[in-house]
C-alpha cells in the first residue's frame, strides 16, 4: 500500500496549490456572489403545503455549499491544528465578520437601488441569534472529537441529528419557514445519502 504515496515534497506542493486555488476561488466567488446574495428572497410560500417543483439551480447551490464546507473545514482544521479548536473558531468568526462587512459594502456600491424586502414582516429578534448556535456547535464537536466517539462517531451522529431534525423542522414549519411534507422519493433519497455517507465515514473500518 505504501507504493502509491507520492514523495512528501510533492504532496506539500500539491497541498499548497490546493489552498491557493481555494483562496482564489473564494475571492472570485465572494465578488461574484456579494451583489446577488444581498437582496431579499422572493416571497416564500410561508406555511403553504409544498407542491411546487424545485429549481435545479437551488439544488446545485445546496450541493456547492457542501463543497465549500469541505474546504472550510479543511482550512479551519489547519488553524485548529496549529492552535486550538476554540481559537480556530474565533479566527473564523472574526475574519468572517470583516469579510461579510466588506462584501456588503462592495455589493451596495455596485448596486445603488436596493430592493426592499417583499415579505412585509420584520425579522423577529431571535432570527439574529443563529450565531450562538454555531458557537455552541464548536464547543460540542471539539468535546466529542476528543471523547471515545472520535471524529468518526461525531460525524456520523451529527449527520443523524441533522437529518432527523431537518425532517421534523420541515414537517412543522419550525423557525418561520415553509411547512413541507417530504415525498416517498425524498425519504428514500435521504436514506441512500445517509447510507453512502456512513460508508465513507466508516471507510477506515473496512481496512
Amino acid at each position: 500500500m505504501q507504493g502509491i504515496h507520492s514523495c512528501p515534497a510533492k504532496r506539500i506542493r500539491l497541498r499548497r496549490r490546493f489552498f491557493r486555488l481555494c483562496c482564489a476561488g473564494e475571492s472570485v466567488g465572494l465578488a461574484f456572489l456579494a451583489p446577488r446574495l444581498d437582496m431579499p428572497l422572493p416571497p416564500a410560500p410561508l406555511h403553504e403545503p409544498k407542491t411546487a417543483p424545485y429549481h435545479l439551480g437551488d439544488l446545485a447551490l445546496a450541493l456547492l455549499s457542501g463543497v465549500l464546507l469541505t474546504s472550510m473545514v479543511s482550512l479551519n482544521g489547519s488553524m485548529g491544528h496549529a492552535t486550538t479548536p476554540v481559537f480556530s473558531s474565533v479566527a473564523a468568526h472574526v475574519t468572517g465578520t470583516f469579510a461579510a462587512a466588506v462584501a456588503l459594502v462592495i455589493g451596495r456600491m455596485r448596486r445603488r437601488n436596493l430592493p426592499i424586502a417583499i415579505t412585509p414582516t420584520r425579522a423577529p429578534l431571535w432570527a439574529y441569534l443563529a450565531g450562538l448556535s454555531g458557537a455552541v456547535t464548536v464547543i460540542l464537536t471539539s468535546t466529542t472529537v476528543n471523547s471515545p466517539l472520535t471524529l468518526t462517531g461525531t460525524l456520523a451522529l451529527g449527520l443523524a441529528g441533522q437529518a432527523g431534525f431537518a425532517l421534523l423542522s420541515d414537517r412543522f414549519g419550525l423557525f418561520g419557514l415553509a411547512r413541507r411534507k417530504p415525498s416517498g422519493g425524498e425519504l428514500a433519497a435521504l436514506a441512500l445519502i445517509l447510507a453512502g455517507s456512513s460508508f465513507i465515514i466508516f471507510a477506515g473500518a473496512f481496512a
Binding site: 490546493f18 473564494e26 456572489l33 446574495l37 444581498d38 428572497l41 424545485y54 435545479l56 437551488d58 439544488l59 445546496a62 450541493l63 455549499s65 457542501g66 472550510m72 473545514v73 479543511s74 482550512l75 479551519n76 488553524m79 496549529a82 492552535t83 481559537f87 473558531s89 474565533v90 479566527a91 473564523a92 468568526h93 468572517g96 465578520t97 461579510a100 424586502a117 432570527a127 443563529a130 450565531g131 448556535s133 456547535t137 466529542t144 462517531g153 461525531t154 451522529l157 443523524a160 441529528g161 437529518a163 432527523g164 431537518a166 423542522s169 419550525l174 423557525f175 422519493g185 425524498e186 435521504l190 436514506a191 445519502i193 453512502g196 456512513s198 465513507i200 466508516f202 471507510a203 481496512a207
Partner: protein, 139 residues
C-alpha cells in the same frame, strides 16, 4: 453521544434561523449577523477558557486564516437555499456535496486506506441525489 446528536440538530437550527432572517433582510446580511453574534459568543468562551491568543499562533499557515471567508459564502448560500427548498432537502444535498468533495480531497492527498468503501458511498449518494431531484425539478 447526546452531545454529538445535539451538534447536528444545532446545524439545522442555525441554518433555518439564518434562512428566516434572510426572508426579511438578505442572505448576505444573515451571514453577517451570524458571524458577528458568533464572534461575540466564541470570544467570550475563549476568554473564559483562556485561549484567546494561543502561544502557538505564529505556527499557523497563512491560508488557515481563509476559512472564515469561505464560511461567509457557506452561510449565505445555506440561508438562501433553506428558505427555498426546505431544511431536509438542504441538509441532504449539503451532506452529499461535503462527502463527495471530501472523498475527492482524500484521493488528491493520497490519504491511506481502502478506496472501495468510499466509491460505494459516493455511488449510493449519487443515486440518492438522482432520486431526490427526479420529477420534482424545473429548470
Amino acid at each position: 453521544m447526546l452531545m454529538a446528536l445535539t451538534a447536528g440538530v444545532l446545524v439545522v437550527v442555525s441554518r433555518s434561523v439564518n434562512g428566516r432572517l434572510s426572508l426579511s433582510t438578505s442572505p448576505l446580511q444573515a451571514s453577517f449577523w451570524n458571524h458577528i453574534v458568533g464572534a461575540a459568543a466564541i470570544i467570550a468562551i475563549a476568554i473564559a477558557t483562556g485561549q484567546l491568543i494561543p502561544p502557538t499562533l505564529s505556527q499557523a499557515p497563512w491560508f488557515a486564516w481563509a476559512g472564515g471567508t469561505v464560511g461567509v459564502i457557506f452561510i449565505a448560500l445555506g440561508s438562501y437555499v433553506v428558505a427555498r427548498i426546505g431544511a431536509a432537502m438542504t441538509a441532504m444535498l449539503v451532506i452529499a456535496g461535503q462527502m463527495i468533495s471530501g472523498v475527492a480531497l482524500d484521493v488528491f492527498r493520497d490519504v491511506p486506506g481502502p478506496i472501495w468503501p468510499k466509491v460505494v458511498g459516493v455511488l449510493l449518494i449519487l443515486s440518492g441525489m438522482w432520486l431526490s431531484q427526479r420529477r420534482r425539478t424545473t429548470s
